[in-house]
Amino acid sequence: MAERIPAPADLGDLKTFILPSRACLLSVRDLLCVARRGALEDSVRAARRIARTASASHDQRSAAALEVLWEAVACLELAANAAAPWVDPQLPSPNGAWVEMTHYDPGRANRFYESSHKWGDERFAVLSTHRFRHGDERSMLELMRVEGLTNERMAAAFGEAEAATTRFLRERFETLATAWKRMRAYAAAFEHGLLVVASAVGAIVDEDDNVIPHAMAVWETRKNASRGHIGDSVDDAIAAAEQAGELAIDLAHHVADARLRIVEALEFDGNDVYLRPWEHPFPYWFRRGSVSEETLDLLERARIAWVTVEVDEGNGTT
């Protein structure tokens, strides 16, 4: 079995398709996810420190908690921008989904999270590259079979991984979609002017003018409205934002990593491209126990190597 074989000629254009796709996905996985994780951890740490500091004012605590919500929403947008070009493609881009990743679409994240409860299993499977792209739901397993995968144990493991990952992601998306809905207006208020309402002069009141204690109140951007976090502590707002932000980074990483596995099977050597053994070809993300230990073992060890089949078209022999 060859360690590397020449890549098929119909791979796609290197200059406009393969290499830009690879670069954009690497940027998401190895740069943006790392940056966002560091920033989220930093803001959570700072907000918790301020929340514990007796001398910190109510407004300082609010502003620090708002920063965490803003960071979490940036993580949610990263995940949406990385995944939506495949899960919810809007542009016909012959050069690949990377073009859509670089197109600013103000409604993308909103569509992505707010429609997620309506997605079928096939659409969740696109997140993990078990299916290629929404609207073109060829299964990666089917493609592998066409390309010669004959090992039925492996095929079964792939099917189990797809089903378990889809179930897991569907459940996780409830957290993400809820966080998006609740936090995005706070994030905009933080980013566009830090519109925190000074507690010395601002209070949220009911119809009878009774003050309803709020741990945090902001004016909204671009509308004559305000919103607030009820209670006397920002702790649960910080915890919810931390959880959503971390999950969103994990999702962005998972999406980019799953796509990159295909590209990382390519070896670039000068102007030539080769296929090298495909390590961990089956992306998965689920809790331990979601698949059998035997399947998990197979997923962890899976490696696809290549053989060259030469066809002599003159007499039809191989």
Binding site: T16, F17, L19, P20, R22, A23, C24, S27, V28, L31, L32, V34, A35, G38, A39, D59, Q60, A63, A64, E67, A74, E77, L78, A80, N81, A82, L91, V99, M101, T102, H103, Y104, A109, E191, H192, G193, L194, L195, V196, V197, A198, A200, V201, G202, A203, I204, V205, D206, E207, I212, A217, W219, A225, S226, H229, G231, D236, A237, A240, F268
Partner: protein
């Protein structure tokens, strides 16, 4: 996370503001209330930049990948720069519309315009910053008028300098901050130069900085039914980061001073209010006059 999310029957009540907050020169009660939060806002923005800078120094000191921390620092500086532009646009609109609506409705193209336009027009900037001018001090007696104008000139020089550096910082960081906020791919120098490189992305650009990222944007050309992708290099080397950080901190300080001066103006029901430390910027004779004036 429990949130009120504008439920029916609940409203934000603003109370306890200075009596003159309803006057035209105050803008609106909401704008005065916003300015009252100037110190908290400044502390938050400054601390966020400081933490990002510390993280970046730690990363570079340990020889770790400097790109993630450099980008986060850029984003936080960009947000601080945005604050001051929104505030100055609000001040510019004081006599024509509710400045708070202007502040919270301003879009990026308005911020771009404000930075560029006011950096080129120091007198317009001076008026927007509510500093006394020779024309609107004509009714004052001497030597108070001269003292106020010397202070105003000194402050204008300082603030125009801040603004010019902020405008340069905005030019550099605006697209970076937006790309980071929305999760758009940013390709590091090493990724673009390869091997194997980023294909068509970055083609034709030189390698002119020690550390940079490629900003990539694709626009839809509906008429031609085509997608056009463009790219540009953003320098995030240490010298540039240092200049950008100073610009960000100047933006934070300027926004704080402007908000504080407005609150003081409304409290004292005065036409102008100059920060207390302005006395350090004028000669001894005018300093004595201004101190006497400040004591009432």
């Amino acid at each position: 996370m429990a949130t009120s999310e504008r439920p029916p029957g609940r409203v934000l009540r603003i109370s306890g503001l200075p009596g003159a907050s309803e006057q035209t020169y105050a803008g609106s009660p909401q704008f005065v209330a916003y300015c009252l939060g100037g110190d908290v806002r400044a502390k938050q923005r400054r601390d966020a930049i400081g933490r990002a800078q510390a993280a970046h120094q730690r990363a570079t000191g340990r020889g770790e990948d400097p790109y993630p921390t450099a980008l986060i620092l850029c984003q936080r500086i960009g947000v601080a720069l945005e604050d001051v532009a929104r505030l100055v646009l609000a001040f510019e609109s004081l006599s024509t519309s509710d400045p708070f609506d202007v502040l919270r409705n301003a879009r990026y193209d308005m911020l771009d315009d404000a930075f560029a336009r006011l950096a080129d027009e120091p007198e317009s900037l001076r008026a927007a910053l509510m500093l006394p001018t020779p024309r609107d001090t004509a009714e004052l007696d001497e030597p108070l008028r001269s003292a106020i104008l010397e202070a105003s000139d000194a402050l204008a020089r300082r603030w125009v300098g801040h603004w010019t550096r902020c405008a340069r910082g905005w030019q550099l960081l605006r697209r970076l901050a937006k790309a980071l906020r929305h999760g758009s791919p940013l390709l590091s120098r090493e990724l673009v130069l390869g091997p194997p490189g980023a294909g068509a992305l970055g083609e034709g650009l030189g390698d002119v900085f020690e550390r940079w990222v490629l900003l990539v944007g694709s626009e839809v050309d509906h008429e031609a039914e085509a997608l056009n992708t463009t790219y540009a290099i953003a320098d995030i080397g240490e010298d540039t980061l240092s200049r950008a950080r100073h610009a960000g901190l100047e933006a934070v300080a300027l926004a704080r001073k402007l908000a504080g001066a407005h609150v003081q103006r409304v409290h004292s029901e005065s036409k102008w209010a100059l920060p207390r430390d302005v006395v350090k910027l004028v000669g001894p004779k005018h300093r004595r006059i201004l101190k006497r004036c400040a004591r009432g």
